[in-house]
């Protein structure tokens, strides 16, 4: 079965580096980065292209830092 | 002797304890001291600062607007306090994350790569001790030994194994100031 294709955009200025999204991503797409943003938080980065667009990360993200896209299946 | 100091930085950089260490040490030397933190909903980040006064005489106001020395650990604090240093006073700052350096010419400015030094020493938490050492080099108002005694008071017992590292950091700070 072909995997659904998804993608996320992380607003690194908004991210507070809580890393809750990292925990909930089934495809391990997200990880703590090693740079801090303006507010001093270790923001999260994308580390692979396996995203399925499941929205778990965006749902759990307290600060709404993640936008999720998913390819329509019947396209 | 009267030394009026502002110490400012991000919450978590240890600016409040720097002031406290100075005060504890001051007491050991029978000096009058006053430490006034900015307080507020710091719980949730933001900047912190404390006014620290060390004096031979009774301290009148713990609140002052102009300082003999400003010790500054980040850009917002630099922006805020550069102009609060008395003419002829000292501005000591950690330059690591500073993008707009100070411009005053009527004060003595000391710039330290303290964060980098701390990173080199493998513990970013000792940034404040490096700064403190630098300050004491510039203004030797308190004896080194007493500072270490003050440090012991302020550092919670469970971190006392870090005392040697902190002591080293103070010394490093002293070294970094070109005399």
């Amino acid at each position: 079965m072909a995997k659904v294709k998804g993608d996320v955009i992380i607003d690194i200025d908004v991210c507070k580096g809580c890393h809750l999204c990292v925990e909930v991503c089934p495809s391990k797409t997200l990880a703590a980065g090693n740079k801090v943003n303006q507010k001093g938080y270790l923001y999260v980065i994308k580390v692979n292209d396996e995203c399925t667009g499941c929205t778990n990360c965006a749902t759990i993200c307290p600060d709404g830092a993640i936008t999720v896209y998913r390819e329509k299946l019947n396209k | 002797m009267l030394e009026e100091i502002i110490i400012a930085g991000f919450g978590g950089q240890g600016v409040l304890s720097m002031g406290q260490i100075l005060c504890y040490s001051g007491i050991t030397e029978n000096k009058e001291v006053s430490w006034m933190p900015s307080y507020g909903p710091e719980m949730r980040g933001g900047t912190a600062n404390c006014i620290t006064i060390i004096s031979d005489e009774k301290i009148s106001s713990p609140i002052i607007a102009e300082f003999d020395t400003a010790i500054v650990l980040n850009q917002p604090s630099l922006d805020k306090f550069e102009h609060s240093v008395k003419p002829g006073g000292v501005l000591l700052y950690d330059s690591t994350n500073i993008i707009k350096p100070p411009t005053r010419t009527d004060i003595k400015i000391y710039k330290l790569e303290a964060s980098n030094e701390a990173a080199k020493m493998k513990n970013t938490k000792i940034l404040n001790m490096i700064m403190l050492g630098a300050f004491l080099k510039i203004k030797p108002i308190i004896k080194f030994d007493n500072i270490i005694a003050g440090l012991k008071k302020v550092l919670p017992e469970r971190y006392h194994h870090l005392l040697p590292l902190n002591e080293e950091a103070v010394k490093k700070g002293m070294e970094l100031v070109k005399s």
Partner: protein
């Protein structure tokens, strides 16, 4: 890949528009933020921005009104449900909610909470239970667990001296004025979705003048629990949830619905 993906028609999740574009002051990973976000999602989805009036408490969420793009009022500590009652009584056709912490709702505000529920005020009460006074720096809350440490129970909460953790939600469920009473959480995506559904129901029942809807959200306080956000959620699962079990406590009976 991204370039072709990131088009409007593929968009499946984005920050709700009622959530203003400013950074919230909450600590990283705090359940307050999550709850604000889903509250806004509900307001967006029900398209009720112009009908909603919210009441913020005194607690970490004291400036909730800085983040939610709706009309809001502050309340003195503990009095949010009285303030909400005042609003609802003169604007019965509007949708009114209060948003309160556990100290606010279950300590100083106990009387107001109980009587508001007892009158069956047609409002929605969202109750963030993080077992601690977050705002003031981690003192014991009425909901603090047995033996749990806080700045005012440095040796752990001794229930014999300091009282038992209160299950406010179960208590108000006993009152005939409450219509829908549930305990939820926001520590996993699934729970976030359930809580959101509960909030949505709360507004829907309010529109039908059903009485008080009361939604407890068992939440975390990484800062005062002194844990990382991830650890705080683990601790929540292991310690809070056994004592504050999730699920509906009072649901509308079939006939009523």
């Amino acid at each position: 890949m991204s370039d072709t993906m990131q088009v409007a028609e593929n968009l499946v999740y984005k920050k709700p528009k009622t959530l203003l574009d400013v950074a919230m002051h909450y600590c990283p990973g705090c359940g307050h933020s999550t709850t604000h976000k889903i509250l806004c999602e509900v307001i967006d989805e029900l398209n009720i921005q112009s009908e909603v009036v919210g009441v913020a408490p005194v607690g970490c969420s004291v400036i909730a009104y800085n983040y939610l793009d709706i009309d809001m009022q502050e309340a003195p500590h503990g009095r949010a449900s009285a303030v909400a009652t005042g609003i609802k009584r003169v604007l019965p056709e509007k949708l009114v909610f209060s948003y309160q912490g556990d100290g606010d709702l279950a300590a100083i505000g106990t009387g107001e909470t109980l009587h508001t529920c007892n009158r069956g005020e047609n409002i929605l009460i969202i109750f963030i239970n993080n077992g601690i006074y977050g705002m003031t720096g981690g003192q014991m809350a009425p909901t603090t667990l047995e033996n749990m440490k806080s700045t005012t129970t440095p040796f752990g909460r001794d229930v014999k001296k300091m009282g038992y953790p209160i299950k406010m939600t179960e208590l108000v469920a006993h009152l005939p004025g409450t219509y829908y009473v549930t305990r939820q959480s926001v520590h996993t995506p699934a729970n976030v979705r359930k809580t959101k559904a509960a909030i949505k129901k709360g507004f829907e029942y309010q529109r039908l003048n059903k009485g008080t809807c009361f939604i407890e959200v068992v939440s975390n306080c990484p800062s005062n629990w002194k844990m990382t956000p991830i650890d705080s959620n683990k601790w929540l699962v292991e310690n809070m949830l056994p004592f504050y079990p999730l699920g509906d406590i009072k649901v509308p009976s079939k006939e009523e619905n």
